[in-house]
Amino acid sequence: MAQDDLYRTVVLERARTPRYAGPLTDADRHGEGSNPLCGDRVKLQASVDAQGRLAAVRHETRGCAICAASADLMAERVTGQKPAHVSQLHAELVTTVETGIAPEGLGDLSVFAPLHRHRSRIRCAMLPWSALIEMLNDDKDR
């Protein structure tokens, strides 16, 4: 069978055995995103520390391997970050999946670069990020 460099070990592992799944007991931020086209859904819970950094992030994802792995890698990557840095990561990931070229320092998130050849699947990887950005923007509006 021809495999795809999209389904690398890290994607399969994080989809199968997520490290950041489940509810967060002391969450003070809640977000949710869904994709009506495929029924995928991501629920996010986060806590924010006194400096405005994401102290902890957890996700509950019902979706494909790409969506589930993206949510888990996202939760790992944004922990300890301020919203401005999250926005920057989000923008870099958007560019990566559009062009297939990951900037230096994107780390594990660069596994999604092959999505530029699977345009119909880009939204799968971006769903957790859209939910996170929306959650942080809601926070700003408070």
């Binding site: 069978m1 795809d4 389904y7 399969l12 495929c38 699977h118 699947r121």
Partner: protein
């Protein structure tokens, strides 16, 4: 064009090579592999006869129709109107005037919802089933919200057949004005007993519409034998082009209901104060129609008739039986929909592997299937799944392609589980 059958049921396997040679796209490579196209239920591929008919029209014989007073326009009008005769024969219509060209099945159902729907009163009911495509659900929701008619949903059984006892109960209060039901489910492959549904609807004083988008590809439709009132099909699933569909309805209904879209071609007289309508079918065909696509549809119907529904039916029945057998042997694979009368549309899940991951990995191996909710979200909820993968067959599908699908699915499962 009726029954120019050249292949007996047993002959199609032998002529499969010739049929496949008529579809240029089937020789394409995808990701360096032979294309295995198993998404004909979404849209079928086109034979060169269709491609050539459309290109030849644009090269040699094209002008606007119904109004030009010159040779080229008259010839194009003849070619366009000849397809109306072809479609009438294809569907077993009583008269060519009962054939309305639309953009697709969706537009045909919207036409009925708008025009027939405008005569309905609050308290009357439109009845649909749990397994409708959004095309045969959303227009009725919009009608309900506009006019106050009730939209009632009749259930399916757990194996994916229409629950005929429940249908009887849902008709029993005598308020149902229209039963609008699929003739073949695009998700489950279930073929409904249209004649029995029509008889029950008529006994309850209701009209009946069948969404034949899927069925008309696989079996001969005879709208009079079915005793239907409305029947819709779409060209692009019938090996024809996109942008052309058909509404058939009884002449007396078409005469009684108001037009759908207004504009040129659908009028008799126009003044600033008022307009009067052309007679059917033109009353329902406003503006310049899809001339080239209609001619392409004619070529597609001629192509289907040249193979014949006896041969098509036998081929697809054998393919479906083969597919259910080999897919049934794939570990963890569950076929969704096991109604006794079914066609070559097979939805499935495979353990916890998401259908989108299945579809992407199949694609890497040149295999095209559909994955998602198949424009039938309420049905997905009824089935307790968010999405399925779906393989669907056409006249060019081979048993070997199904074997490749099954073998690749087994490998994909090993990859995830």
């Amino acid at each position: 064009m009726m029954d120019q059958t050249v292949a007996s049921p047993t002959e199609i396997a032998g002529s499969l090579r010739r049929i496949r040679a008529d579809f240029p796209i089937l020789s394409q490579k995808v990701h360096g592999r032979d294309l295995v196209f198993l998404d004909s239920a979404a849209s079928a591929q086109k034979p060169r006869q269709v491609i050539d008919a459309m290109a030849d029209t644009m090269r040699t014989q094209y002008a606007n129709i119904h109004r030009g007073l010159y040779w080229m326009s008259e010839r194009t009008t003849e070619a366009y109107e000849a397809v109306r005769d072809q479609v009438a024969a294809f569907l077993g219509a009583g008269a060519r005037e009962e054939i309305i060209f639309t953009r697709n099945s969706t537009e045909a159902i919207n036409l009925v919802a708008h025009s027939f729907g405008s005569l309905l009163k609050p308290g009357q009911v439109v009845l649909v089933s749990e397994m409708e495509h959004h095309a045969n659900l959303v227009p009725w929701q919009m009608l309900r919200d506009r006019t106050g008619v009730e939209l009632r949903v009749t259930p399916i059984t757990d194996d994916g057949a229409l629950d005929m006892d429940a249908l009887e109960r849902n008709l029993s209060d005598g308020r149902v004005a229209l039963v609008a039901i699929t003739h073949m489910s695009n998700v489950l492959g279930t073929i409904t007993d249209a004649r029995a549904i029509a008889d029950m609807a008529h006994a309850a004083g209701a009209k009946v519409l069948f969404d034949g988008s899927q069925l008309a590809v696989h079996r001969r439709v005879d709208v009079r034998a079915l005793d239907a009132d409305f029947y819709v099909v779409t060209g692009h699933k019938l090996y024809g082009p996109t942008g052309i569909g058909v509404l058939w309805a009884r002449r007396e209904i078409l005469d009684a209901i108001p037009p759908f879209l207004g504009g040129g071609d659908m009028i008799s007289t126009v003044s600033f104060e008022r307009s009067t309508w052309a007679s059917v079918p033109h009353k329902f065909e406003a503006g310049t129609p899809a001339i080239i696509e209609t001619i392409g549809l004619g070529a597609a119907l001629a192509y289907i008739e040249s193979i014949g529904f006896d041969a098509i039916g036998a081929h697809e029945e054998a393919l479906t039986a083969h597919a259910l057998k080999v897919l049934g042997n794939v570990s963890g694979l569950k076929v969704i929909g096991t109604a006794p009368d079914r066609g070559g549309v097979i939805s499935f899940t495979m353990d916890d592997v998401h259908p989108h991951d299945i579809a992407t990995l199949l694609d890497r191996n040149g295999i095209a299937v559909r994955a998602g909710h198949h424009c039938a979200e309420p049905l997905m909820r009824r089935l307790g799944v968010t999405a399925t993968a779906r393989a669907s067959f056409g006249i060019y599908t081979t048993p070997e392609e199904i074997d490749v699908l099954a073998a690749t699915l087994e490998q994909i499962r090993g990859f995830f589980v």
